[in-house]
């Protein structure tokens, strides 16, 4: 049975968590994520979930408690944003290297400083090499759907990696939308019960987790991690297929919008993709062959899918809501350019760092990018590296 709700992104995540009913949730507040754990704590207080709710004194402790619970065999979750993610940095890597299937909503927010509480992707983009699977959501519906699917992906026996489910701070986390949710029983049947391969609480089969691992074996364990990340792409697709059969809502590694015959295209992550779709519709009405690729899964990186989607275009603008201070665009820009290197026929690529610290991305902003691409296709020179919408 489907239930239609009007929910903010945070409410959608909290509702998904209530339905997931994790064994353990460790919680520490940080804007704009706070509402997720706060709303979830209502479910705990009202007896709607069986979760052991652990209030901790920092994000480092939140992730540490989640790791402990997950190692004990529990289905464990926490949620964070920006500086909270930065503060749990050390243990974020440990969760991945211990192969603990933790699922964590991250509400994207600019990293300090100067201090700012609004949306950009500098927090999770910084964690892109931490060994976590990263799934980004364009809106509340996707946040809800992604969070539930993430449980199955993380806990798959061949994967056993943690997953960050990301959503744009305020723009989505505090914006109300109509979403279609599934009923509790459907969700619980879909996610099933976690069956850990090893558990610290299993006294009949005692194990040691996280021991010292030196020159002779550390590298082999990293190879295992890399291999699990590689294999996760197929699992992400399989889980999405099952989710579609149940709900009718389909998901892929990336989302192609009007790309069949597109000559110019934008690649973006998160809520800006929604705005770009409106711009594409208007351009198409004028006869401009514009398209959009929205990246849903950033880790593992869908290198072949991206290259395939862009192969027939002439010029592509790659939008990063994160500056990585490399003087070479953002992380998405560089990963896409690297993916295209394999192909002889490849479009021109331009980098746009945009929306830092929550700077609004309007239709005009997006139209400006498509206009740049049209000029580039006509043979005009445009800079390769751009900061979109900055006053100059």
């Amino acid at each position: 049975m489907k239930i239609r709700h009007s929910l903010t992104g945070n409410e959608a995540m909290a509702e998904a968590m209530r339905q997931i009913n994790p064994d353990v949730v460790a919680a520490y507040p940080i804007t704009p994520q706070t509402e997720i754990v706060q709303l979830f704590s209502n479910s705990v207080a009202d007896g709607k979930v069986n979760t052991e709710f652990v209030t901790v004194e920092s994000e480092h402790s939140a992730m540490s408690a989640t790791i402990g619970a997950s190692a004990a065999g529990a289905r464990a979750m926490t949620a964070t944003s920006a500086n909270g993610l930065a503060y749990m940095w050390e243990v974020v890597y440990i969760a991945a290297s211990m192969r603990l299937p933790i699922v964590m909503p991250v509400v994207n927010r600019a990293l300090s400083g100067p201090i700012n509480i609004h949306c950009d992707h500098s927090d999770t983009m910084g964690a892109r090499d931490s060994g976590w699977i990263q799934i980004y959501s364009e809106n509340s519906q996707e946040a809800y759907d992604n969070l539930i699917q993430a449980i199955r992906i993380a806990e798959h026996k061949d994967i056993q990696l943690p997953v960050m489910v990301c959503m744009d701070g305020f723009i989505i986390s505090h914006g109300m939308e109509i979403i279609e949710a599934e009923d509790d029983e459907t969700v619980r049947k879909f996610i099933g019960v976690r069956k850990p391969q090893y558990s610290l609480l299993n006294k009949d089969e005692p194990v040691t987790m996280g021991p010292l691992d030196l020159q002779d074996f550390y590298f082999e364990h990293k190879k295992q991690q890399a291999e699990a990340m590689k294999n996760s792409a197929q699992v992400i697709l399989d889980v999405a297929k099952e989710w579609k059969e149940m709900t009718g809502r389909s998901y892929d590694m990336l989302d192609e919008y009007c790309m069949e015959d597109a000559e110019i295209a934008i690649v973006a992550i998160g809520s800006a993709a929604g705005t770009a779709k409106v711009a594409v519709d208007a351009l198409r009405a004028k006869g401009v062959k514009a398209g959009l690729v929205k990246v849903r899964v950033f880790r593992p990186f869908p290198k072949e899918e991206i290259a395939k989607a862009l192969a027939k275009t002439k010029a592509v603008a790659i939008m990063d809501r994160a500056e990585s201070f490399a003087d070479f665009g953002g992380p998405l820009f560089r990963d896409i350019r690297a993916s295209l290197y394999e192909y002889d026929l490849r479009p021109k690529t331009v980098s746009y760092v945009y929306g830092l610290g929550g700077r609004d991305v309007t239709l005009d902003t997006i139209n400006q990018v498509y206009a740049d691409l049209e000029r580039l296709v006509k043979g005009e020179q445009i800079p390769m590296l751009n900061h979109l919408g900055v006053r100059e």
């Binding site: 192969r99 987790m209 996280g210």
Partner: protein
Amino acid sequence: MTTKKIIAPDAKWQEIPMAGIIPTAGTAKEFKTGDWRTRKPIHSEEKCINCLRCWVYCPDSSILVKDGKVTGIDYDHCKGCGICAKVCPDKVKAITMINQSEE
């Protein structure tokens, strides 16, 4: 109980438990760490009064005891820290430390 399986030093990444997990208990026994030692305790059965202070204090459980009597030292695991010699009562001094190289 799972049976203890020693992982060969040249095991491939596909052959070892994930994440460095040690899937059985008590494996430290198989890990011979005595070669770290630079000094070596020598126990004298004649002098020993079997008070078992050394057994209590040894941080590596390397004092071997049978039926309440010290029977020797487990050199596969003893690190040569000298604690046993230090705690052995002054009037007894049944353990003396020698340099490993003097052996």
